[in-house]
Symmetry: C2
Subunit: 209 residues, 2 copies
Amino acid sequence: MTSSDSVFRIVVLASGRGTNLQAIIDQLHGRGSIEVVGVGSDKAEAFSLERARAAKIETGVFTRERHGDRLVRDLAMADWIESLSADLVVLAGYMQLVSPEFVTRFRGRIVNVHPALLPSFPGLDAIGQAVEHGARVTGVTVHFVDEGTDTGPIILQRAVEIEARWDREQLEQAVHSIEHEIYPEAISMISEGRVRIAADSPRQVIIDQ
Amino acid sequence: MTSSDSVFRIVVLASGRGTNLQAIIDQLHGRGSIEVVGVGSDKAEAFSLERARAAKIETGVFTRERHGDRLVRDLAMADWIESLSADLVVLAGYMQLVSPEFVTRFRGRIVNVHPALLPSFPGLDAIGQAVEHGARVTGVTVHFVDEGTDTGPIILQRAVEIEARWDREQLEQAVHSIEHEIYPEAISMISEGRVRIAADSPRQVIIDQ
């Protein structure tokens, strides 16, 4: 067994500030068998790329301007991810919908974190949607990515009770801090081979203890 | 001030076993200022009617057979509720959709409990829907009733984390026990005049402390 056999290689895609990326770097990167081997972004100026460079992780930039349409960009990104021999693609504030071709290429090996208890509040501004709806409880979902918007099989969820005295910023902090807990937790379980989709029931994710 | 001025009168509508009715009777009826003045059902054989009789509460039966269509039944039920001078109509496992005319007549004075964290899993068999969807967290919602199915402004919600080792019955027990906690809690707050819909924002329910 070569040393690379025992390393679980993840590529993180991020468009924004990259706080989930940072949580993954801090909690998982280089610890145990997990290595973040690449950070990709659709935005050249994404702060997540700074975080990657600071951690000496390879970066890839795949802008719409350079690659034209989404499919061309996604295929370039997929080639880059495969060149890094990634075991898992981790969407972390990646603000683009990935194309069906991208999903097919990494079927069952793409995960996302969403700031709501899906199926409630899919899509953009999930926290704002929860507030507008008058929800008393929201939360965080980690799920496999399929062709839909935030519709894939659910791996982990955790609730956040919305305190009436909270302003929007406090709610966002509460939700994001749960993201930073359960996303590394889910990735860690996947890296240990403990997470699988039930053979007879594609929505049921089984976590082996 | 006559004694009736200080009593908050509720009518409970229930189709089934009436476990939420029993929680309301046990926790609220005749305690403080709350009195359950009537229990109505669309089913003559509903066990909830037995529970009402055991607590010496007036019952009303409004079957489809006797009243023909939903609107005629709902208007007869509304007349009965008004004859009891009810302050609040409490749906507790009432398996009929009430008509818009009924909602209009008791606008802002009808509440329901739903075994999911709305807007996830509205409609029938919410617990089964959550299981089918592979949800890791579900819960309970108490909300005002509007013309839609489980769409009204949310008063209280509480989460239930679904343990992988639970069977369906254990999950149901966990959800129902939360219902039996937060439904009486919400009704109690309403009876104290602490619950109101924001004047400028019809989805936002404000609870005064």
